[in-house]
């Protein structure tokens, strides 16, 4: 009796061990750090669920460690500096791959995606940003860029055409605000607070003059005269009453809220704003909004600042192959189409912009494609943290008039010459 029970127990144990062993082999848990509200974790969850269905045994958990880039950077800094293995995949901003890769925090994806060629299908600006030192640092999730939103209704009412240059925009804004006689109507709203968006505020007129901030090797190639002209352009608009005097206080949410409340004629903002103006319950501008590429400086070309988010695999992950597979899945044209259809997140593939389904949901994407293709990425530097800080602080100082544009530009050059060599 005893012997039989023992054998029975033993065989049962073996079977159980075998089963759990098998289950353990197939059972992977992937943890994804997926940013905050504006990176649509709800949509990403749907994609993850679809992936889980196709790959049984894999569970994907989302971690939201901070709602804004600042908080996320803080969290990631801590966790990655401690070489933590808990998180396998990170969603990072377009400006981060170079810095994080050089810090040794990102796993090069070349062996999982077939080398640098894997980046070719994407829009050129994203292929560039994600290729660091010849290696694939991350794959694009979705795109973004700065657009010029404007009050279609007001332009029509006053017989003003869509401005193609900044001078035309200044004239148009003045004509409209003077005619409307509304003291709280602003001509143009941009971001002047010392936030990341201020880097774009600096670069827009600079790029429009055809200048580059750095060369392909990351060395600073600042044209001081052009940069000063750029900052001067904004200040002239303040003096003309087109930009409000305290423009150095304005952050992205403020621009959105003011435009949404009907207090702004022209506004520069990211792609997400379109849906806000169209769909928000308290939007005063439903149906009155147009979107167009940014104006150019006189004699220059239209230039915009590109944003967007990327998927990267942590260098300290214990599930690198599985994580890389998931990252590949999330960066396919199908995923891009899903995000575009469901969340109006701008696609990273040119073909998706002209897809019929997508255009049905977001007709404005047709024009958006050209804007992004012509867009430029902010300086790709392994020390982007410092670059960003120097540029945005000095832009803010210039707009707040605590420094003259010349001083601000000199400061930028002085500090970044040492950093971007």
């Amino acid at each position: 009796m005893k012997r039989r029970t023992l054998t029975q127990w033993l065989s049962a144990a073996v079977v159980v061990a075998g089963l759990s062993g098998q289950a353990a082999l197939a059972d992977t848990k992937i943890r994804v750090f997926s940013g905050g509200q504006n990176q649509r974790p709800d949509l990403m969850r749907k994609l993850f669920d679809a992936y889980q269905a196709q790959n049984p045994g894999t569970t994907i958990e989302i971690e939201t460690g901070g709602a804004t880039s600042e908080l996320q950077r803080q969290y990631l800094s801590t966790v990655l500096n401690a070489k933590d293995t808990a998180i396998d995949i990170y969603m990072i901003d377009i400006v981060n791959p170079s810095q994080y890769f050089n810090a040794g925090w990102l796993e090069p994806l070349d062996s999982y995606v077939g080398g640098a060629a894997a980046l070719k299908p994407y829009l050129p600006v994203y292929s560039q940003a994600n290729l660091v030192n010849g290696k694939v640092a991350a794959l694009p999730a979705f795109a973004d860029a700065m657009f010029m939103y404007y009050r279609k209704d007001l332009l029509e009412k006053h017989g003003v055409k869509e401005p193609k240059t900044w001078d035309e925009l200044t004239a148009a804004a003045k004509k409209i605000t003077e005619a409307e006689k509304n003291p709280s109507l602003q001509g143009l709203s941009i971001q002047g607070a010392p936030i990341e968006g201020a880097v774009c505020t600096f670069l827009l007129p600079y790029w429009s003059q055809g200048k580059q901030f750095n060369d392909a090797n990351g060395k600073l190639t600042l044209d001081k005269e052009a940069a000063t002209k750029g900052l001067d352009m904004w200040l002239k608009m303040v003096d003309a009453g087109v930009l409000k005097k305290n423009i150095a206080e304005v952050t992205t949410p403020v621009t959105v809220n003011e435009f949404k409340a009907g207090q702004v004629v022209f506004a520069i903002n990211w792609g997400f704003a379109w849906d806000v103006f169209k769909d928000a319950a308290d939007s005063q501008v439903k149906g009155k909004v147009g979107v167009m590429p940014l104006p150019a400086v006189a004699g220059g070309k239209s230039a915009t600042c590109v944003g967007g988010w990327q998927w990267a695999v942590s260098a300290f992950s214990k599930n690198k192959p599985a994580a890389a597979q998931l990252v590949k899945y999330m960066s396919t044209p199908e995923a891009s189409k899903f995000l575009a259809r469901e969340g109006s997140l701008l696609p990273v593939f040119q073909s998706v912009y002209t897809d019929a389904d997508v255009l049905k949901q977001a007709p404005w994407f047709k024009d958006a494609a050209n804007v992004i293709i012509a867009g430029q990425a902010r300086p790709i530097s392994s020390q982007y943290g410092q670059v960003s800080d120097v540029v945005r602080t000095n832009t803010n100082a210039a707009l707040a008039r605590t420094k003259t544009p010349t001083e601000a530009v000199n400061d930028i050059e002085g500090r970044l010459n040492r950093v971007m060599r």
Partner: protein, 295 residues
């Protein structure tokens, strides 16, 4: 714990009583502080320079002394300390004295003292930044109603921004001071005041001869921590102005934060932290001596 022990010698008891504190501090603080000091002697710029991980001796320390940003931030920090520590003390003392008056129902006053402290620091700055917002802040609204024509751009002028930040800090921390001082006031026996009144002392004399001397230990304690937190001021200027306009309201703690989180320069950031420690120690050493002395 209340079993009748035969009293061990006082020294042993003392060390026993101190052990939990030492253990906790050892667990949480010793390794981080050790690593911090260790890191300050290395080049730890994670941006992938060729020197990553190299021992650089005193180089970081020399660089700090030559760094204009460091001196500027330290200057800002010391100004904030000089203004907000006495400021919070005066306001806090006033609040505590007022709160100590015999009220029938004490809790509204207690609650009013507690609320500023209870408002999370991270949101305090944001709220006051909104109060001082040029377009939508109540400060400008009140000034407008009082007839002022020109709107002040509070947070865009270095001096005004600095003043706004100091005001916010004083508002929040006077609550901290008031709580400590109120507790101290409550320990002063009423009979002392009654005896003084019988002797014909005025309110003012009572304050100087009774209240202030007996309150001194609490004042010193409150000052120590108020000073330490003033030297480490981060949240309020960070959320109100992000150091702007330009760099004019950047404090030492903000510089450390920037260096560590944005620049990913752990070596230099650690060195700055060591400097902050040295400055803190220098400033508070004098107070600490007073506390240790027996009453």
């Amino acid at each position: 714990m209340l079993k009748t022990l035969r009293d061990p010698s006082e020294k042993v008891l003392a060390w026993l009583l101190l052990t939990p504190a030492f253990l906790l501090i050892a667990l949480i603080v010793i390794y981080p502080v050790g690593k911090l000091i260790y890191n300050s002697f290395f080049d730890l710029r994670l941006s992938g320079g060729a020197n990553l991980g190299q021992f650089v001796g005193w180089l970081n320390y020399q660089d700090v002394l030559k760094d204009a940003d460091f001196w500027h931030a330290t200057q800002n920090t010391l100004w904030i300390t000089l203004i907000t520590v006495p400021g919070a003390l005066l306001v806090g003392l006033g609040l505590a004295l007022l709160a100590n008056l015999p009220f029938q129902r004490k809790w509204p006053v207690r609650l009013a003292l507690l609320l500023p402290w209870a408002l999370p620091l991270s949101f305090c700055g944001l709220i006051f930044a909104w109060f001082f917002n040029t377009d939508y802040g109540i400060v400008n609204d009140v000034l407008r109603r009082l007839g002022q024509q020109e709107t002040t751009m509070w947070l865009l002028r270095p001096n005004w921004a600095f003043a706004a930040i100091c005001l916010t800090i004083i508002w929040k921390t006077s609550s901290f001071m008031a709580l400590i001082l109120l507790a101290g006031l409550q320990m002063i026996p009423r009979s002392l005041y009654e005896a003084a009144e019988v002797d014909g002392a005025t309110r003012w004399q009572q304050f100087w001869q009774i209240t202030l001397p007996l309150l001194m230990p609490s004042i010193v304690v409150a000052l120590i921590f108020r000073t330490l937190t003033a030297l480490q001021t981060f949240d309020i200027p960070y959320t109100m102005t992000k150091g702007g306009p330009g760099n004019s309201t950047e404090t030492l703690a903000m510089l450390i934060h920037k260096t560590t989180i944005d620049y990913l320069d752990l070596g230099y950031g650690s060195t700055l932290a060591v400097f902050m420690f040295l400055i803190s120690m220098a400033v508070t050493a004098v107070y600490l001596r007073r506390v240790g002395q027996t009453a």
